[in-house]
């Protein structure tokens, strides 16, 4: 019953680089106490993007997963890294979003020239790099305990970003975020302990071969998924997210909303499709979908009622995350030969990617608007269009994705999910997708209406925004739109490495 | 001999357990800390007994660490104020 061995592939060492490179940058910033912390970050960011692209190219060229066995110790004793089509997609997405955020953050997190080292730049750049290491590890690692360590890396990098400004409300939000994240981690770890007790391995491929449909496995997976739900802010465990994501500086919010909450969801995908004994429990799938529906409807309505732009966007994040959880029953009921050839799976992944791009762009745009106007009250956004037109445009383009209007990645994603829902006669899910789109349109247009209005007579611009920052934000939004031109069918690329594990 | 040492360890554990009643009764933090102190020393002794009984000398190291850090809780307790509603805000100003 020993699972097949992993064989390290040609370019496997690049996977190590993808994980370790950000760590090196982080340690360098921390140890050197340089005059300008951001310089090291600007060195690491493009190199990291190139590494991600190189791995993606390798996967695309060979049509197979890239694998590396750390230290040469075969799992389950050792740990393997493995990049399949899905993980490289997310790695490239991460690198792109982080590079864009890095560019935009230059305005807010540069070390003042008169100081050797300042708090917020040093903390911001080290933690962003820490996050990157955590995300790449989440996408690559094949070991459940290693994934736990990665999740902790993610938590420890993300929480201090929330309270970077040190205000009382953000401290409170950070503390609450930390507590939710810790509950999530410990539930996840408990599940891992049960799985180890039952199978003597925490290697994903090994578990896939061994998994039985018994109590221990169900409880373990249930605990792990529940813990990850708390980290991914699925209703009703979403309470921590809006204050945390709204309180963080815009650049950090963009990363938190676009990437950080996706990591636990990615692990749920791994558990559900790669570990759980198939066919998975239909009732659990329905429950996840119902919680997703509740997220979509409840938090969209909450988003409509917010007075602050950033809080509105944060609630919209919870709503959009809800769509991701719709895919479980859709994939199960589909008659495609494998999960990753079904429309629902592709739609879900596409929703993940397009939301990441759109939401990053939206938060960054909101940050620039707030910087220019000096506040982010939706009621008083009049005149934003005249000051930061490009940012408002980016906000609108990103909004297309959230609403699911063409042309946008969100449109294609939601259309695929909708198709899958009607094909499998999940009418409630179809209705929720449509209703969610209408609600999203209402909250996006509410902002755009105010922003396009003529400025009041006493209107004053607080700060001028350099063009490159606005263009970066627009670039992200355009990426989200361009995703709308992909063909409406399952992509072979996302299935690479998923057939015939490992 | 091993049997005797195991039985002693078990009895010592029971005594330590009885001492826990002081942690529950209190009434002052000092009283509760004494119970913790007893668990520390008693636990060290139990570790030594089991180590000798089972021949696993590595367990002596556990007793070593327990003994080394036995006073820590008491030291940390003395950082605070005993009973009154006071705040140690001055420590960092």
């Amino acid at each position: 019953m020993t699972p097949a061995a992993y064989t390290a592939t040609e370019g496997g060492a690049l996977l190590v680089v993808a994980i370790v490179l950000p760590v090196i940058g982080m340690l360098a910033i921390f140890a050197l106490g340089l005059r300008r912390a951001e310089r090291i970050a600007y060195l690491v960011l493009p190199v990291g993007l190139l590494v991600a692209l190189a791995i993606a190219a390798d996967v695309a060229r060979s049509g197979a997963a890239v694998t590396y066995v750390l230290g040469g110790w075969q799992p389950p004793l050792g740990i393997a890294l493995r990049a399949d089509g899905l993980s490289v997609t997310l790695m490239v997405l991460t690198a792109v979003v982080l590079c864009a955020v890095g560019l935009v953050a230059r305005g807010s997190f540069s070390t003042p020239p008169d100081k050797a080292e300042a708090r917020s730049p040093m903390v911001f750049w080290t933690l962003i790099l820490g996050l990157w290491c955590a995300l790449n590890t989440v996408f690559l690692s094949q070991d459940l305990f290693n994934l736990f360590v990665a999740l902790e890396l993610l938590t420890f990098s993300a929480v201090p970003l929330v309270c970077l400004d040190g205000r009382r409300e953000t401290l409170q939000a950070a503390l609450r975020y930390l507590l939710f994240a810790l509950i999530g981690s410990v539930l996840y770890l408990m599940g891992a302990a049960l799985l180890y007790g039952a199978y003597g391995t925490l290697d994903l491929a090994g578990l896939r071969l061994l998994a039985r449909n018994d109590l221990a496995t169900s409880v373990a997976l249930g605990l792990m998924i529940a813990g990850l739900m708390a980290k991914a802010a699925l209703f009703p465990l979403h309470l921590w997210l809006p204050p945390a994501h709204a309180g963080a500086p815009a650049a950090a919010s963009a990363v938190l909303s676009a990437l950080v909450v996706k990591a636990p969801f990615f692990i749920i995908l791994r558990l559900w499709f790669d570990v759980a004994p198939q066919p998975a429990n239909a009732m659990a799938a329905q429950m996840l979908a119902w919680l997703g529906i509740a997220s979509i409807l409840f938090c969209s309505v909450m988003a409509l009622r917010q007075a602050r732009l950033k809080l509105m966007i944060a609630y919209s994040t919870v709503a959009q995350l809800g769509y991701l959880f719709l895919m479980f029953p859709l994939v199960m009921a589909s008659d495609a030969p494998t999960a990753w050839e079904s429309v629902g799976w592709t739609g879900g992944v596409l929703q993940l990617v397009s939301h990441a791009l759109a939401k990053a762009s939206m938060f960054l745009a909101a940050g620039l608007i707030a910087e220019a106007l000096g506040h982010d009250r939706i009621e008083n956004l009049d005149g934003a269009m005249s000051v930061v037109p490009i940012s408002v445009a980016a906000f609108g383009l990103a909004g297309l994705s959230l609403m699911g209007l063409p042309p946008s990645g969100g449109f294609v994603a939601k259309l695929m999910l909708l198709t899958a829902a009607t094909e499998t006669a999940n009418w409630w899910i179809a209705a929720a997708i449509l209703l969610g789109g209408i609600l999203a349109a209402s909250y996006v247009f509410r902002v755009l209406n105010r922003a396009m209005a003529a400025p009041a007579s006493d209107f004053a611009c607080k700060a001028s925004i350099p063009l490159y920052r606005e263009l970066t934000v627009l670039g992200l939004a355009i990426c989200a739109v361009v995703l709308g031109f992909v063909p409406l069918q399952p992509f072979a690329f996302l299935g690479i490495g998923r057939v015939g594990l490992p | 001999m091993a049997e005797f040492l195991y039985v002693t360890a078990a009895l010592l554990l029971l005594l330590t357990g009885l001492g826990l009643a002081r942690m529950l009764w209190g009434p002052s933090p000092a009283d509760r800390m004494m119970a913790a102190q007893l668990v520390g020393t008693g636990g060290g002794a139990i570790a030594l007994l089991i180590a000798t009984a089972s021949g696993a000398t590595a367990m002596i190291d556990v007793a070593l660490v327990l003994a080394l850090l036995a006073a820590f809780a008491a030291v940390a307790l003395s950082l605070g104020e005993p009973g009154t509603q006071q705040r140690d805000g001055g420590a960092n100003s």
Partner: protein, 310 residues
């Protein structure tokens, strides 16, 4: 052998745990938690996991207790904090906890036979490393990436704590740890204990290669000694901008990374060691890690900067 001692230990742990959660005063709760930690280190001995017992004794009995008691001292002692009173919520939570407990208990009571294990595989490859302590081999060879990333977690936690420094104080020293009233016994203890403690810490690190012990246990002991000296006011916590401090913090991870990358040239890949050099490399990495752990743990307990840099 009779189960009575184990049963008694289990009962004591659970009683102390219930007290920890139900105590009205938060300091009483912390004392309860320290007791749980001490009892747990005995439980780990009974589970034949001496390495873990050492860790639990050093962390549960020492570091965490100190951290929490210091927090109590700074929060003010006498606030009554009962469990939240909403009855419906309590019942709901109670039901949830019971369901989880029943499920776990069922799994524990009906284990898989024979129990799956990696012990034979782990033992089979020990010769390739040349170390005698299987746990150290797992931590620094088989699953070295976990350990490496865990050290990164510690560095990030330190950054996270420092991030809470108010802006004008950035670069300064953490608040003093000393007790409000200086006391003779404390000063005496802080003069006598650290030399012994340092020897024991180094012994644990060194010993960890072949027998139970290791970097984290040794590093924690070293940190505890440093904290004791700071509490007795014999030393002030260092300023967080100091380059020496920063370099000590990253020393462990950097040495680990260098050893890892060296594996590309001298062995077959990242974090792999050539058999004849494995032991010296691992001992070197352990020494560096322990030093970093000691510094990081001490600074984590000391907290964010509270004084402007001089």
């Amino acid at each position: 052998m009779s189960l009575l001692p184990d049963f008694a230990l289990m009962l004591l742990i659970l009683i102390a745990a219930v007290w920890t959660v139900s105590a009205r005063d938060r300091r009483d709760s912390v004392i309860g938690f320290i007791v749980v930690g001490l009892l747990l280190s005995l439980a780990w001995i009974r589970l034949n996991s001496v390495d873990v017992a050492l860790t639990e004794a050093a962390v549960g009995g020492g570091a965490t207790g100190l951290l929490l008691l210091r927090a109590c001292a700074r929060l003010g002692p006498n606030e009554t904090e009962g469990v939240s009173l909403k009855v419906s919520l309590r019942i709901l939570t109670g039901v949830l906890c019971t369901v989880v407990a029943v499920a776990l208990a069922t799994i524990v009571l009906y284990p898989i036979e024979p129990a799956p294990t990696l012990a034979p595989t782990a033992a089979a490859h020990m010769g390739e490393i040349g170390l005698g302590n299987p746990v150290t081999v797992v931590l620094l060879a088989y699953r070295a990436i976990d350990t490496l990333l865990e050290k990164v977690v510690l560095v990030l936690a330190l950054i996270g704590v420092w991030a809470l420094t108010p802006d004008p104080l950035w670069g300064g020293a953490p608040g003093s740890l000393r007790a409000q009233h200086s006391s003779g016994p404390l000063t005496f203890l802080a003069q006598v204990l650290p030399p012994v403690g340092i020897v024991i810490g180094v012994y644990l690190i060194w010993n960890g290669a072949d027998r139970p012990g290791g970097t984290f246990q040794g590093g924690t002991v070293l940190a505890a000694m440093w904290l004791l000296v700071m509490m007795a006011d014999l030393r002030e916590p260092p300023e967080i901008r100091l380059h020496t401090l920063r370099r000590l913090v990253v020393l462990g991870p950097v040495v680990f990374l260098v050893a890892g990358f060296a594996g590309f040239w001298i062995a077959n890949g990242f974090l792999s060691y050539p058999p004849d050099l494995a032991k010296p490399i691992i001992v070197l990495v352990e020494a560096a890690l322990a030093l970093s752990i000691a510094v990081i743990l001490g600074m984590l307990v000391a907290g964010p900067a509270a004084r402007a840099p001089r």
